[in-house]
């Protein structure tokens, strides 16, 4: 059957239920009339004829219903087939139309692709940070990370870490949880010899396996017996990926030995593919917390006077705990239970360490919180910024949609005559709408594919450049959650962009369009397009203001005087890995490493240190004559440094002298203090020459010999009270090195590592970390905000500029006639240019005003994420407004020039 597309079949009436019934009745009526006429012709009277006709026919009612049923099902099927063929036809029509205009198609697909890609990228990140529960986790709603708060000097330190004895106390004294286990990720050397590599190792209690719905790929998981005190059993479960890459997925990996950190572990199993526990990243292997702690910390604590083993030492705080509430136990009940147990543990700790903050002042508390760290109370700003960026990406998509709608609208206007002809030919308006929507949906779907490609690339860039590889982002093409979001976005974008031209079409006046040329009504119709432009300009302003604020924050953060040159420093850490040493050799080795490093051509200086900014701090008791309690004045952090340390770091010495080789172990005790510390301990006095007693009030005087510039080490918001002791006089056998390179530090890391590794004894090794890498997470949120707001803002601005250009250019073409008249009447080229450019500015101005209002109103919420910038920062807002106006002028400039060159003869003769 051939069908004319879109035409209603005039002869077919049985389209609906009533129509079908009527048709059956008509047919049967005709049959009876004919039969009776024939019978009566043969001489029967009407009554007999009717009886005979009915006898011949059989059960009339039943037949009638049967026929109607058959016909209804036939009509339904025909209609469905027709609908589908319509869809297929619209689809082919759309594809053909788009292939005829490759430039237009490419522009639209790219525009939508950028919008959708931006959203998919941000979704991938925010989903990871905030929403997606760890894979395989049983009952995610009941699983929780445990949070602990202890108040110290009036300020509560909220965190997730506790000591092993506190874990044992909590486990013993709570009844709300059916599983409770430590879990954290440690960076440890894996393997032996030159193939040794530092990898992420999951450290966990045996309870963890019960919290996940997992079975080993091969072998088994470790048991509570293998995770029991005092030493645990050195067994390991490999991750699937590690098993595949290192053992080729062979079963005989089981039973083999694997060096992890300082010990050898027996491989007993392989975790299923994708299993990472609570880690945000892939890990290489899983080990029992008892065995790992026994190997890495050692049976006894070497430091301080308290030589209790690690599992009894309340002072060593490093475990993160995860738990699962029993079914039916409410969060409130679990919190009460946990809180009580933690307070009990704190009291117990006070009996062992009576010098810690008293119970009443410490106000210890504990509660269950989100498993995803970035949702917990100690989240960093990155997750917040990322959530903001989701909104920003949404705005970019809106702008992209507005642009595409604008382009489609312009196309619809050009096709007015074609559409009018089709309507006049009897193609239904609903079919026309379907056709337009099909076109925009096809465009959106292509945009979705482009968006996925962009998200794939963008996710990688974000991960490496901005998140320091701390978050795993799935491939956009295979992650079902991302695919679903993209599908929704495609649908939304397709409908949104198709709406304007569709509305345009359905209001089209056929006779007007057919009668008039292209010109009439066009100016009025572009009002919708101008409205879209105003919206675009407003949204661009909002994004650019955001970009400006974050860029200023980032520059403020970067300009903070840290007190050292992070970009040129490498931190060298020593890992003994079970190689037996003594303190004399340890001290000697560190001096040797420093001397070897200093000889390297790429190294400017090297010095020893025991703490690293934003990585480790060391606090000991200080005693100063005339001050009751130095500790009450705040935290004083120490650095043990070798001669040349301040120059290595780039920290200025304000007064006095630096350390020299004369400040030896046996020499007089000396220290250098930071400015803040000097001002705090001896306000109004000269700190040089003062006496400080370190560790005990009976210790001999340590004399202040120098005053150094302040440094920021734990928070970039504030400087720290910091002091330096000579390495030779404080823990000469501990710590590592800072190396100042001649160029950018990260480039020399490998070279330095190779040189230093060569003199490391036995299985021991060094790890080299650029200081900038350690500090990066501190400024991550501003960097993320600045980069993404700037990228999205620039994208939005470019899209808005293209939109403005296309509307102005279109208007100019429509008004060629008018321009011709103007020129003919004596208008100068500059008048015409001025007219058009003014028009561009007039279109953009309301958008700029609207955008500024929105930006000012939204400032309140973004303020906490900024750094020393007001959300109403005048330079930023003025700059953005100026940028928008410049862009408006630029976008209307070229069409204006074209308009000014109109030849009045041609313009007036045409049409």
């Amino acid at each position: 059957m051939t069908r004319i597309p879109g035409l209603r079949r005039l002869m077919r009436i049985e389209r609906d239920r009533a129509g079908v019934d009527r048709a059956v009745d008509d047919e049967l009526q005709f049959h009876f009339d004919m039969t009776m006429r024939e019978l009566m012709t043969n001489g029967l009277n009407p009554d007999d004829a009717r009886r005979e006709a009915e006898r011949r026919f059989g059960d009339i009612q039943r037949t009638r219903e049967k026929l109607a049923t058959i016909d209804r099902s036939r009509v339904g099927r025909e209609r469905r087939a027709e609908w589908w063929s319509g869809v297929a036809q619209d689809f082919r029509y759309a594809i053909r139309g788009l292939r005829l205009k490759p430039g237009f198609t490419l522009a639209v697909v790219l525009t939508l692709g950028l919008g959708i890609g931006a959203n998919a990228t941000m979704f991938g990140i925010v989903d990871r940070l905030l929403f997606r529960p760890p894979q395989f986790l049983i009952a995610p709603a009941r699983a929780a990370a445990l949070y602990f708060g202890v108040t110290n000097r009036g300020k509560e330190n909220l965190g997730t870490s506790v000591s092993y004895p506190t874990f044992l106390d909590i486990k013993a004294n709570t009844s709300s949880f059916d599983a409770i286990t430590p879990f954290f990720v440690d960076q440890l050397a894996v393997g032996e010899g030159p193939a040794t590599k530092e990898m992420k190792i999951g450290v966990l209690g045996a309870d963890l396996w019960r919290m996940f719905d997992v079975a080993p790929a091969i072998g088994r998981f470790f048991t509570p017996q293998e995770d029991s005190l005092p030493t645990g059993t050195a067994v390991t479960v490999l991750s699937y990926a590690f098993w595949q890459t290192q053992f080729g997925g062979r079963r005989d990996a089981l039973g083999r030995q694997l060096s992890i950190g300082s010990a050898k572990y027996t491989i007993i199993g392989v975790a299923p593919e994708g299993f990472v526990g609570f880690s945000p990243d892939p890990v290489a292997a899983f080990v029992p917390v008892t065995a790992e702690s026994n190997a890495e910390i050692g049976p006894g604590l070497r430091l301080g006077r308290n030589r209790s083993p690690w599992y009894q030492n309340y002072g060593r705080i490093w475990l993160s705990l995860f738990a699962r509430r029993k079914p039916g136990v409410t969060v409130a009940a679990a919190n009460a239970d946990l809180n009580r147990a933690f307070q009990l543990s704190y009291k117990h700790m006070l009996t062992v360490n009576p010098k810690r903050t008293a119970f009443d002042r410490a106000r210890p508390r504990a509660f269950v919180g989100a498993v995803l760290r970035d949702r917990g109370p100690d989240e960093d700003n990155s997750a917040k910024v990322a959530s903001w960026l989701i909104g920003v990406a949404g705005i970019v998509l809106l702008i992209a949609c507005a642009n595409v709608a604008n382009l489609l609208l312009a196309r619809a206007l050009r096709r007015r005559r074609e559409i009018a002809v089709r309507i006049a030919l009897g193609v239904s308006r609903s079919r026309l709408l379907m056709q337009l929507l099909t076109e925009s949906l096809v465009l959106a779907a292509l945009g979705g594919v482009a968006g996925l490609a962009i998200a794939q690339w963008g996710g990688g860039v974000m991960r490496h450049a901005l998140l320091d590889d701390e978050v795993t982002i799935d491939s956009a093409f295979t992650d079902p959650r991302t695919l679903m979001v993209v599908a929704v976005l495609v649908l939304a974008a397709g409908l949104l962009t198709g709406l304007a031209p569709a509305a345009q079409t359905s209001s089209a006046d056929v006779s007007l369009a057919l009668k008039s040329g292209g010109r009439e009504g066009a100016v009025q119709r572009s009002r919708l397009r101008v409205g879209l432009l105003v919206l675009q300009a407003a949204l661009s302003v909002v994004l650019l203001v955001g970009a400006g604020l974050f860029l200023r924050s980032l520059s403020n953060v970067r300009n903070i005087p840290m007190g050292y040159d992070a970009s040129r420093l490498l931190w060298v850490e020593l890992n003994s890995r079970g190689t037996p040493t003594d303190s004399v050799h340890d001290a000697l080795l560190r001096d040797q490493l420093r001397d070897r490093a200093a000889q390297l051509p790429s190294v400017a200086r090297a010095a020893r240190a025991i703490t690293v900014p934003f990585y480790s701090t060391w606090i000991v008791s200080l005693f100063v004559t005339g001050i009751d309690s130095v500790g009450a004045l705040g935290n004083f952090t120490l650095q043990a440094a070798s001669p040349g340390f301040l120059e290595t770091m780039g920290t200025r010495l304000i007064r006095g002298r630096a350390f020299t080789n004369a400040d030896a172990a046996t020499g007089p005790k000396v220290m250098i203090v930071g400015q803040s510390m000097a001002a705090r301990l001896w306000p109004g006095e000269d700190a040089l020459g003062k006496c400080v007693r370190v560790l005990a009030d009976t210790a001999p005087c340590t004399t202040v010999v120098g005053i150094a510039q302040d440094v920021r080490r734990t928070s970039i918001d504030k400087t720290e009270m910091h002091y330096y002791l000579p390495s030779a006089q404080f823990r000469p056998d501990q710590g590592g090195l800072f190396i100042r390179t001649r160029g950018a530090a990260p480039e020399h890391a490998e070279e330095v590592r190779r040189a230093l590794q060569a003199i490391m004894p036995g299985a021991s090794y060094v790890t080299i970390t650029p200081l900038s890498t350690i500090i990066a997470p501190e400024i991550r949120s501003w960097k993320l905000g600045a980069t993404m707001f700037a990228a999205f803002g620039a994208l939005a601005l470019a899209l808005a500029a293209i939109g403005l250009y296309s509307v102005i250019a279109y208007n100019v073409t429509q008004r060629t006639h008018e321009m011709g008249v103007r020129v003919a009447l004596g208008a100068q080229a500059s008048d015409v240019v001025g007219l058009i450019v003014r028009e561009g500015i007039v279109i953009v101005l309301p958008g700029v005003a609207l955008g500024t209002v929105i930006a000012l109103a939204a400032g309140r919420w973004v303020a906490p994420l900024l750094f020393q910038v007001s959300p109403k920062d005048p330079p930023v807002i003025v700059g953005v407004v100026a940028t928008l106006l410049v862009v408006a002028i630029a976008a209307s400039w070229f069409p204006a020039i074209r308009a000014s060159r109109v030849d009045p003869h041609e313009a007036l003769r045409a049409d």
Partner: protein, 110 residues
């Protein structure tokens, strides 16, 4: 036994209708009259069943129907064979001939 009868009749009725329509489009009444006249009223066909068969074959796509005017200028539903219907007629004719031949052969060997 009775069901077998009906099955036979069903297939036979379809075949007769298809055959009737090979001479061109006809409405239901014409089909019924033609069958009755041609068989000299020996085949007693319930006309309700005939219409059911027509509609069912239309649904299957063997027949195509359209409204037109009858000899006496009345609106009537005309049925017409489709290509598929012709194929069906050929196939069923072959089956029927073979079947009838087989039955006839059995009856001959008395």
């Amino acid at each position: 036994m009775r069901t077998a009868d009906l099955d036979l009749l069903q297939g036979t009725l379809d075949l007769l209708i298809l055959k009737t329509l090979t001479w061109g489009p006809r409405h239901g009444y014409a089909v019924a009259s033609w069958i009755r006249d041609t068989t000299n009223q020996r085949l007693q066909i319930e006309e309700g069943a005939l219409y059911t068969a027509l509609h069912r074959m239309e649904k299957r796509g063997w027949l195509e129907a359209d409204w037109g005017l009858s000899e006496n200028n009345r609106k009537a539903k005309f049925y017409q064979l489709t290509a598929q219907g012709r194929r069906q007629l050929r196939a069923q004719t072959a089956v029927w001939t073979e079947y009838a031949g087989a039955v006839f052969k059995v009856l001959q060997t008395a």
